[in-house]
Symmetry: C2
Subunit: 397 residues, 2 copies
C-alpha cells in the first residue's frame, strides 16, 4: 500500500506534545529526517500484520524504531508505544495516527506478537521474560541477554541461521528472545564478516570512534549543551558523562573490568565470537568516545588465515549486503558526521543511511597478503540499533 506523504508523517510527536518532551536531539533528527525523506510513503497498518510494541519509544533508539518501521513498510495490525511513567499520557503521531504513550507494565504485552525493546538492560531483564511468558517474541537492544547461550545474537546479514527456529507462525503459547548485538559489534562485523568468510579472520584489532548517540538522547543533548557552554566560556555541565565531552575524547564510559578493558570493549570480543561461532578468533578493542553526534567509526586491523589481496577484498565488500565501499577515504570518513540540527546536507550523507561505509587498504607490512586495514562508519542508531532489530523482526514474519 503506497500513499502520498503527509506533512505530518514523520512528526512522530504531535506538535502540542513535543515541547514537553525534553529530547531536543531526537527532535532535531526528526525534523531533518522529514526533509530528507522520500515523498512516497508506504504505510504498514494492515489487518494481517503482527501486533507490535515499542518499549522505550521516547528514546534515541525508540524514535528510530518508528522511523525504520515506517521506512520499511513494516506490517503491523496495531502498535503500542511504551515508555516510563514520565512519558505516559503524552501523545505521538505515527503514520498519520495519533497514539498515547503508555507506561510499561506486565500487561502491556497482552496480545503483542513482537516487542521491540530499547529501554536499557534492567528494563529488559525485568520485562523481557514477562513479555516472552505472554507469548511475545522480544527483539532486545540491550546487553541483558546477548551472552545467554540459548538466546540468538543476530545480525541478519551475518548469521540469520541462528534465529531460523524462531518465527511468528511456529509460536506455541510462549514467545522467545532474540538479542540485537552491540552497535560497535554490528558495524564492525558488517564489514569484517564477508572477508572472514573468504579468508578467515584469525586476529582483529579494533579502535573505535564512538558518537554521543550511543549513550542515548540525553547524551546527545549533553554534547550540544556543553559545546555551547564551552564556546561561551562557561564550565561545561556534566550529567551523563563524568568529564567534559565537548572538544574532548575519553575512554568509553562503560565500567572498567579487572582486566583493564571496559565492558564495551569486551562486548566486541565476546559478541564477535558468539556471532561467528568461533571461540578461537583473537579480538582486542579500544573503545573511545569522540565528540560527534550520531555515527560510530572503527579502525579495524584484520589478520587472515589465508592470503587476501586488496582487490579481492574490495570485490567481496562491494558484493556484501548492507555495505557501501567508498573509494575516496575522505568521503568515507565523512560518514561519521554527527546528526546536527542544521546541517542537512551532511545529514543526508550520513545519518539516515542504512549501509555501513567501508574503506580498505592492504596492511602493508603484513606477510603474504594476510592483513587488511579497514575503516568502517555506520549510523549507530540505525544499523547499530533500530534497523538491525527491525531486520530481525522482518525475519519473524
Amino acid at each position: 500500500m503506497q500513499v502520498t506523504a503527509s506533512a505530518h508523517r514523520v512528526h512522530l510527536f504531535s506538535p502540542s506534545s513535543s515541547p514537553a518532551l525534553s529530547l531536543p536531539s531526537a527532535k532535531h533528527c526528526r525534523c531533518r529526517y522529514r526533509n530528507a525523506a522520500a515523498t512516497t510513503v508506504r504505510m504498514g497498518l494492515r489487518e494481517d500484520g503482527p501486533s507490535v510494541a515499542v518499549v522505550g519509544v521516547t528514546g534515541a533508539v525508540g524514535q528510530e524504531f518508528l522511523r525504520v518501521l515506517s521506512d520499511r513498510d513494516f506490517p503491523y495490525r496495531n502498535i503500542r508505544l511504551l515508555a516510563s511513567r514520565r512519558s505516559a499520557g503524552k501523545r505521538l503521531t505515527f503514520e498519520d495516527r495519533e497514539y498515547t504513550i503508555e507506561e510499561l507494565r506486565p500487561e502491556s504485552f497482552e496480545g503483542i506478537d513482537i516487542a521491540l525493546f530499547s529501554a536499557g538492560g534492567s528494563i529488559s531483564k525485568e520485562f523481557g521474560p514477562v513479555a516472552v511468558e505472554r507469548g511475545s517474541i522480544v527483539v532486545d537492544n540491550s546487553s541483558a541477554f546477548r551472552m545467554v547461550p540459548e538466546v540468538p545474537l543476530v545480525i541478519p546479514e551475518v548469521n540469520p541461521g541462528a534465529m531460523a527456529h524462531i518465527n511468528l507462525k511456529g509460536r506455541s503459547g510462549k514467545g522467545a528472545l532474540i538479542a540485537n548485538p552491540n552497535c560497535s559489534t554490528i558495524i564492525c562485523l558488517m564489514a569484517a564478516t564477508p572477508l572472514h568468510r573468504h579468508a578467515k579472520v584469525v586476529r582483529m584489532v579494533v579502535s573505535t570512534y564512538q558518537a554521543a548517540s550511543g549513550a542515548g538522547a540525553a547524551a546527545m543533548e549533553e554534547l550540544l549543551q556543553q559545546t555551547h557552554e564551552v564556546l561561551d566560556g562557561k564550565q561545561p555541565t556534566c550529567k551523563i558523562f563524568k568529564q567534559q565531552y565537548a572538544f574532548n575524547l575519553f575512554s568509553h564510559n562503560a565500567a572498567v573490568l579487572s582486566n583493564g578493558y571496559n565492558e564495551e570493549e569486551m562486548k566486541l570480543v565476546k559478541e564477535t565470537r558468539k556471532i561467528w561461532n568461533d571461540m578461537d578468533v583473537k579480538v582486542t578493542a579500544t573503545c573511545i568516545r569522540v565528540p560527534v553526534m550520531r555515527a560510530h567509526a572503527e579502525s579495524v586491523n584484520l589478520q587472515f588465515e589465508k592470503p587476501l589481496d586488496e582487490d579481492t577484498a574490495r570485490r567481496i565488500l562491494e558484493g556484501a549486503a548492507g555495505v557501501t565501499v567508498i573509494d575516496d577515504r575522505i568521503q568515507s570518513l565523512s560518514y561519521a558526521l554527527g546528526c546536527h540540527p542544521d546541517v542537512r546536507m551532511h545529514y543526508l550523507h550520513v545519518s539516515n543511511k542504512d549501509d555501513v561505509a567501508v574503506d580498505d587498504r592492504q596492511d602493508l607490512p603484513q606477510d603474504g597478503n594476510q592483513g587488511l586495514d579497514i575503516f568502517v562508519c555506520g549510523d549507530q542508531i540505525r544499523k547499530g540499533a533500530a534497523l538491525n532489530a527491525i531486520q530481525i523482526a522482518e525475519k519473524l514474519l
Copy 2:
C-alpha cells in the same frame, strides 16, 4: 638567573600588535598559559648562550617555541624572530623585551648558531640549506629532511645517539641539519620505545585521534569558527579542510598515496623504522582527525618478540623519561582535551604538559603475553613539536 614573573612575560605579542594578527587560537593559549604558569620565571638571556632564530614564530609551533624556551630557561645571547612578509614589522614581547618580527631572508641566518624551523616543508627546503651554509645548526620541524639518510631524526629520550656527532662547539664553519619527527611518531614512540627495548616490538598497529593543532593555528581557528556556525545553524566555512570538521571526523588531510595510505600514516611507518634503526618492524597506521583542539591521542596495539606481562610493562613505563602512566583510563584520556580558550581547569590537565600520558592493558587474546594495548595522549604542539625540538637544541649546547 631567576626573576619574578612580570605580567607581560608571556604576552608574547604586545597588546597593540596582537589584534592585527589573526591567530585567535594561539592568542587564547597564550592568555591561558599565563594563568597556568608558575610565578617564578627564569630568563635565558645571557652572554654565553647561543644566538637563536625562530623561523615561523607567529605559528602554532612557533609560539610554543617561545613558551618552551622560556619555561626551560634555554640560554640565548640573542634571539631573532622570523616569519613571512605578512608579519614583518609586527612587535612581540618575549621575556620582558620587545622584538620586531623580521621577514625570513637568507641573511637572517648571519651569526645564528641554532635555527628552530617551523614554517612548513617548502620553507625548510629553501632556507634550511641556506642556514646550514651560514653555519647554523637547524632543528627542523617539517618533514622536508626527515628521511634523508644523513640527517638525524631524533627524539631525545629515544635515540639521542643519532645526533651525538653534532654540537655547537664542534662546528667548523658549516652548520648541520637535525630533523624533528612527526608529532604522531613522537607521541607513539615515547611510550612504545621503553617497551621495545625490553621485549622488542615486531608489529605495531596504530589508530590516531588527531587534534586541529596539528594543522596549525588556522586549523584550530577553523574548528572554533565552524563549531559556532554549526550551532547557529549556518553552513560551516571550510578553508583549511575540505569538509566539515565540527562534530565530524575524517581521514587525516595529508595526501593519499597509491597504496591507499596517506602521508601521515606512512610517516609513522617510515620514521619508526629510522628512529629505531630497525627496518623489519611491521607498522601499520590509520590516521584520523577528530574535533579536539590541541592534543593527539593514539590507540596502539603492540606485538612483541619476547613475553611481556602487564605489570612489567607498567613498571617499565613508570620508569620512562617523559612518560606519565595513568591508572584510571578515563583520566588518561582526558589528556586529549583540546586547548579551548575558557576551560582553564582542563587546559591545566592537559595541554601544557610535557609528558605523554599512557595507559596500558595486556592484549588479552594474544598468545604468551606477547601483546599489549596502549593508549597514548600527548600535547602535540609541545612534545609533538616545540618541546622535542628544544630538547634537541639543548643537546647541542
